[in-house]
Symmetry: C2
Subunit: 376 residues, 2 copies
């Protein structure tokens, strides 16, 4: 993996760059659609590529490990081939889902013992095994195994957990360095900063993680329920301790406004289920604010879904028609809004990039965060 920092905004810490992987280039800042189980829900791969204009997608190690399982993924030649996606992929380490989905899990220094949310079977994830699994999945960018603390989190727990995450990182790096990719192309390991919403912990974690000198860095443990001010404060603080020349990935963030504010703080990469999950519930994001397509007010509104939208669904389908599809619970409704929201997110980060390059990012961002907060 290679990252080239290209331009910086004069009035903020926003920057643009190009991240090069074995499966192609990624222009940052970028948003990564979440493809939980080897599919971004409701979208064909060509729609992701051509309509959404995704440059990289994310897969969930926990889900892929359980189904289809490592054996099948290895036989397929990795996730790219399994799902027929030839562009970059990032996988998380499985930790987050172990904590959020598994009913019972026991964390100790060795790793996490958990029961599958599907059949209750017992499994053990260790830092080493998380590397092995991600070798089998074969994503271009893979994540260190960490503990993602919840919010709120008591200080002493957050500190102990963070230190364990740091020790786990060492074990991840050792395993990563002593193994080779299975499918003939390079993989890159990203370490994860933790520390909950405590400034001193975040500083310590950022310095520790930076000292590993890996090619990219990630910030975890945010967007877990804390107020936006905490999200921004922690992100701002952490970015100051991370090397400028390496890409920064803020995990699990967020709303369109979150993206713009965090781009201003120096973040290059994002992922979040929000655009697709909300799409499936009829909430879409537009340049002029948030719209609930199920509202009665759209019943006889035959104007196109989003006149400023960049995807064909925005001009092809009317508000009235999409509302109807949700009213009658037809799958096409979710398919349309999912394409819309992802295309909007990709437009948003792409436009942020253009504005940074033009030196106009901050003014544009300040205008956009007002518009984006409106309710349509």
């Amino acid at each position: 993996m290679n990252f080239k920092l290209e331009s910086t905004d004069p009035k903020s810490k926003a920057r643009t760059g190009t991240l090069t992987t074995a499966h192609g280039e990624i222009k940052t800042p970028i948003f990564m659609p979440v493809g939980t189980a080897g599919t971004v829900k409701g979208l064909h791969q060509h729609e992701l590529k051509n309509d959404v204009k995704a440059q990289i997608i994310l897969g969930n190690t926990y889900h892929l490990y359980l189904r289809p399982g490592i054996e099948t993924l290895e036989k397929a030649g990795g996730l790219h081939k399994f799902m027929n996606w030839d562009m970059p992929i990032l996988t998380d380490s499985g930790g987050y889902q172990v904590y959020s989905l598994s009913g019972t899990r026991k964390i100790n220094e060795n790793g996490v013992k958990f029961q599958s949310h599907i059949d209750g079977s017992s499994h053990l994830f260790t830092p080493e095994y998380a590397m092995d699994i991600q070798r089998s999945i074969g994503a271009d960018l893979i994540m260190a195994f960490d503990e993602c603390t919840p919010y709120p989190c008591e200080y002493n727990y957050a500190r102990r957990s963070m230190h364990m995450t740091h020790r786990w990182l060492k074990r991840c790096v050792d395993r990563f360095d002593s193994t080779t990719p299975l499918y003939g192309y390079d993989q890159t390991l990203l370490p994860i900063i933790q520390g909950s919403v405590y400034k001193d912990l975040r500083k310590e974690s950022a310095e520790t993680i930076a000292s590993f000198d890996l090619p990219a860095n990630a910030i975890g443990g945010l967007s877990v329920g804390e107020p936006d001010e905490d999200l921004y404060e922690m992100t701002d603080l952490v970015c100051d301790y991370l090397p400028k020349e390496k890409p920064r990935y803020l995990m699990g963030v967020g709303t369109p406004i979150n993206l713009l504010e965090c781009i201003a703080l120096g973040i290059d990469m994002f992922d979040c289920v929000l655009p697709t999950r909300n799409a499936r519930h009829g909430t879409i994001y537009t340049q002029n604010g948030i719209m609930n397509v199920k509202n009665l007010k759209w019943k006889d509104d035959f104007t196109c879904l989003d006149e400023n939208g960049t995807s064909y669904v925005d001009s092809t389908y009317s508000k009235s028609y999409v509302r109807h599809l949700f009213t009658v619970n037809e799958a096409l409704g979710k398919q349309i809004t999912s394409i819309h929201n992802l295309a909007f997110y990709l437009w948003l980060v792409g436009e942020a990039r253009t504005q940074i390059e033009a030196g106009t990012f901050t003014d544009w961002k300040n205008k956009m965060v007002v518009q984006l907060a409106q309710k349509l």
Copy 2:
């Protein structure tokens, strides 16, 4: 509407033709994907057109009448504009769903009183109102209001019902003739033959319906649970009483084998929910037989979904991947199999057309019905 009979098979009653509507030409024999509530489940309109290669789709009057409702459809300028589909549409009369979906319905000479399956509200469909609703929907081809008798059906009930359907047809024609299309293009009314599985009734109904001298004719009350032999015997019998130069539509049929056998009996048009409904349950049709994509045997089969398939999904996705999508209940699985099955149905009728034109239909059909019956 105009129909031009083009070629006939020397060894069967199969024929090809071109049906011209205000929204374009339809090459027969043809299969019409069912778009119940203004959407063929799980497919974008451009997928229907470009991937499935549908030439005409079917809408359900009962569903569209309840939601989005006639008022919205009229404001939209008809169903074509509402769903953004500029090719031909046929709507049924609503009768079939009134009988099959509505919990309580009372049939008398005037019409059918029924309760909505959605909210229990009371509604009355009469032959006249079924015409008015279909004027509002604005399909190119619209169906007379009939009673579709169930199977089995006692002879006297079938006879009385058939006579009422004939009287209703007269009322449909009168209403149709005394009203004009709402959206500036012609609509064509098709009468429906009934008579259950009784030869004398089918003969009487076919003769009566033919005597109305409408531009096309339809056969109803079949594919309601009767054995295939009855389906074929009734279809065969009825076709002999229908004018050769007019298109014949066999409603609600059927399996790929049913299609081929009924094409051989002189049918030009079909519709059925089978390809989409079965697709959503993981059953796909191929030239070599029926395949349940959920079967364990496909777990590690990374060959493409259908090597003989004509749609891009057949070469893009592997059996293993599609099985995985069904295992984890991901929407994309159903989207893929729905495109596959509809593309297969459209390929099947298109190939039948080619074989009829080449004079080789019967031999090909006899070979195909063996292949299609296999289990993969």
